[in-house]
Point group: C2
Chain length 504, copies 2
């Protein structure tokens, strides 16, 4: 029995529109998870090439639906069509990258230590280790990435690449986008002759659905991108299980920017403009938005550049009512503090459109008001006027961050700042902006708590390792070994044999 | 101020003896952690070769004290001298293996994606990722491995290799052994001209010490080998922190053995003898002890072989009073169940010596009494008479295990059992015994909950990855990069550059 049907809401006018989507009941959620679990063993046994083919087929099916996906996602999220097009391209590239990785088999980490009677301190039996899929993965779609971190985004793509079946909890902010994307995946499964239950999805606005999924015995791991509140809830739910499971939660961060005196002397306007753009990209709804800017020198020119840039910003809505309400409340509270200078942009006139805001304050005021070091999702950033000599204390007091950015003068070398920043963030950027997260092997998107719940990346090919677990086979003949570990390397993958890496 | 001094207890007679060891107060524990944290940054900056030299120097200093260490550990643990000697050798080999690994730099996972204006879906900046030490690691020594999983055992060696400073909580069952081992490490630090605070230790029997350590802000990760109870406590403590930390707890398991009809027909006596030996090695105080043996065929010959072997077992004490009391209580409870056949060995006569015990029962009785599927540390094992057709249900109902072992007849191939077992255990053994854990790259010692708290290994070179976290440097010049990521590969380590692995 389905109940509580819900509609999408257009952020531009705040009105519900279009089809009614059924919300799944507890029984339906449970049976969906059971179906995904039933498909796990056979999906895990699929050959590397068949799994890579599936990922590529999904990419092709998403591409086929691109036009329709752009239209519906634009209406449901209020994001510009160009941004949505770019995000669909990224989603397709992610799937193709994982397909290429799966073909190499490198993610299997195949490691073989041959039997050695002379091994120290005792004779060694034949030992062969391989990474196996962790089991059914629950993916919680993000509102701010309707493709790249939603139904078939990075979490789902990496989990499928690892050989895990999927239960997606679609984000209720973009239900039509989710259903259409789910259909693209189902098309690909059908084309490849694979079970539809490899990839399942549930929808609804009932917060209990999250509990049902996170507490289900069959769920082996969780991938999540979203708020610290829901991330913490998932971690708590996992901890309450008799058998806890890994929760890979990316919970956002402030992405602090540190600008030295020399940098301000050289390029204040340029930095003010580019960091304003970074903070307002996608209405400031990126987990890598620079939400805190520490200016270790003269701030006037930097702030003027930001202010001028703000005049050029048009009206853009936030993703949904909850985000816009939380944004407006936070901005209103922070504006009231004595001593804070508040610069505001356009006046909101409809729907979930909000007012871009810059707060400017000195270091003492920043230290006295913890509200400035919390993430405020939306087009706002906090500029703190301080001294370079404050940087060490600011960094030491900082929460964990996804990114930290350093702006130096030309030729300026500050290794002590780099070392300090490397302790609080998962990615450091020099003389740039934190938005724009390249999907590649060297990417790291994850940092110390509370920016993420584990020291793993949710972007780039290394994210596959979240959904794999090692198993060692001791004394097994080829007939009983996974192909990745058999003699003669039938899958022609990179392996480590007695410490030597190669295709042996 | 130190208080509550305590002595070692000789398990052979149960009497306290020798020096009084001070128990650390809260203030002392806190200041020890602060000292380790103060040494973290400079230790992390040490070159690979200097860190490898330190590991080798520690190995050499342990070797120098071998005679003294064997004497004191023998008195404190009741373990035979030959076993202790072997364990010291393993401890030394572990340190040397990590030294060799650190010299290669492979653990750094250096990954470089060069800037690429044509990258899809958007231009890629220069991105370079490296594994950095996670921070100060707390190591909780195990009672059953006074060397290999105690003060400078696998957890400490892998954490030092990763570049982490250490706070060891020594196990109060072997205080003199711990102090002497700590001294060996301090000798090595001094010889290498390094700070003594890289490696710190606290002692005591006060259970609050565990809380103080696990809740300290400066502690970044925990390595633990021991009981499910304390492992769960550490996981709970971490979860209660405002910033949770990874807890790598190895909590033991039942290590089930599955024997097919054909195997019983071919080699019942041989298996009965070798599995009895495996279950009674070190008085059954191994986390890989086979605690559950499922016989899928005629059991008579197998059981007789075990029974005959039991006659040859001499008196051996358990490690401490707590372990012997828990053992005796559990054995006494299980023996009372109607329908259980109990075979006992020598009569205990002094100290913490206990009676080796084998329980024999049928599958229905096993299913009805959960006590048989809990770990009972000490020289006991449970033999379950069942049918091969029960194996699937037994495996599906099983908790997570460190190991699972399958005995087949010659030429028998049972892939369905291998697949099922690979879902519940971290290491599978064919036609062997689970005790005897080789320290190598392909080893995996860790399995699904509750055998361990994460899917990582605590034995073998891959255990180093528990104590590393990735950080990406975007757009940095060589002068500000860690040497592992600089152009020209100054450290000559294995790196992945634009997807190609090599020494470039």
């Amino acid at each position: 029995m389905s109940f509580n049907p819900f509609q999408a809401v257009n952020p531009v006018d705040g009105l519900a529109f279009g089809a009614e989507y059924p919300e799944q009941s507890r029984a339906e959620v449970t049976s969906t998870i059971t179906r995904a679990a039933g498909a796990q063993e056979s999906f895990a046994a699929l050959s590397l090439s068949a799994r890579a083919d599936l990922l590529e087929a999904i990419a092709a099916e998403v591409e086929k639906l691109r036009g329709e996906l752009v239209s519906v996602a634009h209406l449901e999220t209020g994001l510009p069509e160009a941004r949505i097009n770019g995000e669909i391209s990224r989603t397709i590239v992610q799937l193709q990258l994982f397909a290429a990785m799966v073909r190499t088999g490198v993610h299997l980490g195949a490691t073989i230590d041959l039997a050695d009677p002379d091994y120290k301190p005792a004779a060694r039996p034949d030992m062969r280790k391989v990474n196996l899929p962790i089991g059914v993965v629950a993916v919680f779609g993000a509102s701010n990435f309707p493709f790249a971190y939603s139904v078939i985004g990075g979490d789902s793509a990496s989990a499928l690449a690892a050989g895990c079946t999927i239960v997606v909890k679609a984000h209720p902010s973009h239900p039509g986008t989710s259903v259409l994307t789910y259909q693209a995946v189902q098309n690909a499964l059908q084309l490849q002759g694979l079970s539809p239950e490899i990839f399942t999805m549930v929808q609804g606005r009932n917060p209990e659905i999250t509990h049902w999924i996170a507490l289900a015995d069959e769920i082996a791991a969780i991938g999540f991108t979203g708020s610290a509140l829901v991330g913490q809830l998932l971690v708590d739910l996992s901890h309450s299980r008799s058998k806890p499971i890994p929760v890979f939660a990316e919970m956002g961060s402030l992405n602090p920017i540190f600008v030295t005196t020399a940098a301000l002397e050289e390029k204040a306007s340029e930095m003010g403009e580019s960091l304003f753009d970074s903070a307002n990209l996608g209405s400031g709804q990126f987990c890598t938005k620079p939400g805190l800017i520490f200016l270790g020198g003269d701030s006037d020119q930097f702030v003027s550049a930001m202010q001028n840039k703000m005049l050029t910003v048009g009206n853009q809505p936030l993703l949904n009512k909850g985000i816009s309400e939380r944004y407006n409340n936070a901005i209103s509270e922070l504006s009231k503090l004595p001593g804070v200078e508040t610069i505001v942009g356009n006046i909101p006139d409809h729907g979930f459109v909000v007012q871009p805001t810059i707060f400017i304050l000195d270091y003492q005021l920043y230290k006295a008001n913890p509200g400035f070091s919390h993430e405020h999702f939306g087009p706002t950033t906090v500029v703190v006027k301080c001294k370079e000599s404050d940087f060490a204390e600011i960094i030491a007091d900082s929460d964990g961050q996804l990114t930290a950015t350093l702006h130096l003068g030309s030729g300026e070398i500050r290794p002590e700042l780099v070392t300090a920043l490397s302790a609080i963030a998962g990615r450091l950027i020099l003389n740039g902006a934190p938005t724009g997260v390249s999907v590649s092997a060297a990417q790291n998107h994850g940092g110390p708590w509370p920016s993420s719940s584990t020291h793993t990346t949710s972007v780039g090919t290394d994210s596959i390792y979240r959904f794999l677990r090692p198993v060692t086979f001791q004394g097994f003949p080829d007939e009983l070994l996974p192909a990745a570990l058999a003699s003669g390397n039938p899958e022609k993958i990179e392996r480590l044999v007695n410490g030597v890496r190669g295709l042996k």
